[in-house]
Assembly symmetry: C2
Amino acid sequence: MELWFTEKQTKNFGITAKIKRTLHTEQTEFQKLDMIETEEFGNMLVLDGMVMTTQKDEFVYHEMVAHVPLFTHPNPENVLVVGGGDGGVIREVLKHPSVKKATLVEIDGKVIEYSKQYLPEIAGKLEDPRVEVKVDDGFMHIAKSENVYDVIMVDSTEPVGPAVNLFTKGFYAGISKALKEDGIFVAQTDNPWFTPELITNVQRDVKEIFPITRLYIANIPTYPSGMWTFTIGSKKHDPLEVSSDRFFDIETKYYTPELHKACFALPKFVSDLIK
Amino acid sequence: MELWFTEKQTKNFGITAKIKRTLHTEQTEFQKLDMIETEEFGNMLVLDGMVMTTQKDEFVYHEMVAHVPLFTHPNPENVLVVGGGDGGVIREVLKHPSVKKATLVEIDGKVIEYSKQYLPEIAGKLEDPRVEVKVDDGFMHIAKSENVYDVIMVDSTEPVGPAVNLFTKGFYAGISKALKEDGIFVAQTDNPWFTPELITNVQRDVKEIFPITRLYIANIPTYPSGMWTFTIGSKKHDPLEVSSDRFFDIETKYYTPELHKACFALPKFVSDLIK
């Protein structure tokens, strides 16, 4: 018998992956959590039926969400990750020696628990002394924070279920307040093939709050369309104007200083979405 | 009843698309040809079970295979497309007013016939007076040509079935001979996630024949991993050194002059493949 997991990424299109076995399945307080072992992508975390991360391609998302804003900020010391319970963004954040504290606020403690168990190379840095892990509502954490963070990364699920508040203008206003005066935030903003309106709407909302708003792209094979976007809102520092002496060597598999700029070169149909 | 077409892009991973109906299915002299109408991507041409092109995302491949070499060459007049029976590359080639003649050599006349019927917005320019369509073996056509073409584009299927000869060093040597002294060729070279060795091997072979060898990338949702690579071999002109006054406005949905350079910025794991 063959077992295949299929994610319908839209009503009419999806990906399908042969699985060796189900490692864990649970209805948590917030969502359906499945950890499966796939043949092609290794262990895979699935929330509410959507692929969140896999051992084979996780580096793309985690490197690109972390290093673009962190190299844009001249001296990131205090960093917040909202969501991201698998720990992959935190792992990348810690590659920056300027970072003194990295706080993870994940609403679902079960994501952290099972990532540590089944995705250890992703979650392994959550025990680092510079890291504080809070199992809490990211929206509420942001609302309580003022002038605290240099960089905030929103590593959320899609705008359904527990993450729905994280795609609102009120949330971006809260992020602005939580950031210091030269702070930067980044959020994953889905793909331009199947959810173009989401990109248009988020960019419009972020532009009203942040003087510098940018969109960049990375290729993630297990995410819908393979083309993923990230929206940056920045109070002062422009990711397109990072001087070359800001970059230093870190170990990556996707991110490079050259890509730091090239990832903002958008296909015509994508730049048309955010005009 | 729901009908879904699934392409196993690897033994263990695939995409799946809901279809409205099968428009045509036939075992041609060379391959299994299916034309299906999908909900998400419109009409879709499938050869030997692999998605070749769809109405929704075809523009990415066709623009990127055509405009990168055509804007690199200062004055492309005589252009050859090997494969590409759907006509999409030809359509893009004709956007360059310097082109006096565009020859299409497609081994399978049935691909041309059913593309004209079911993909008219892709194949519609095959009747243009500047176009010559030959139903012939591309490998043999190249072998017979000497010092003829400014730009050659290899728009082939995967290196199985009728296209297997198009991924050989002998073919690249033939292309070099068929090109004029400042000629350029481009070939699609699959994706770095599932077929990294192919990219490594093609780049190695092309490097032995062409002084300038480059790899670039585009996002194509219906192709394996969503990240597609193209290999350029050039005798004289470097795609990275096109002066900004070479570019002129053409109607595109993906290609832009900015992307012309940015698409050569490779993720670290990809550049490692061609070191």
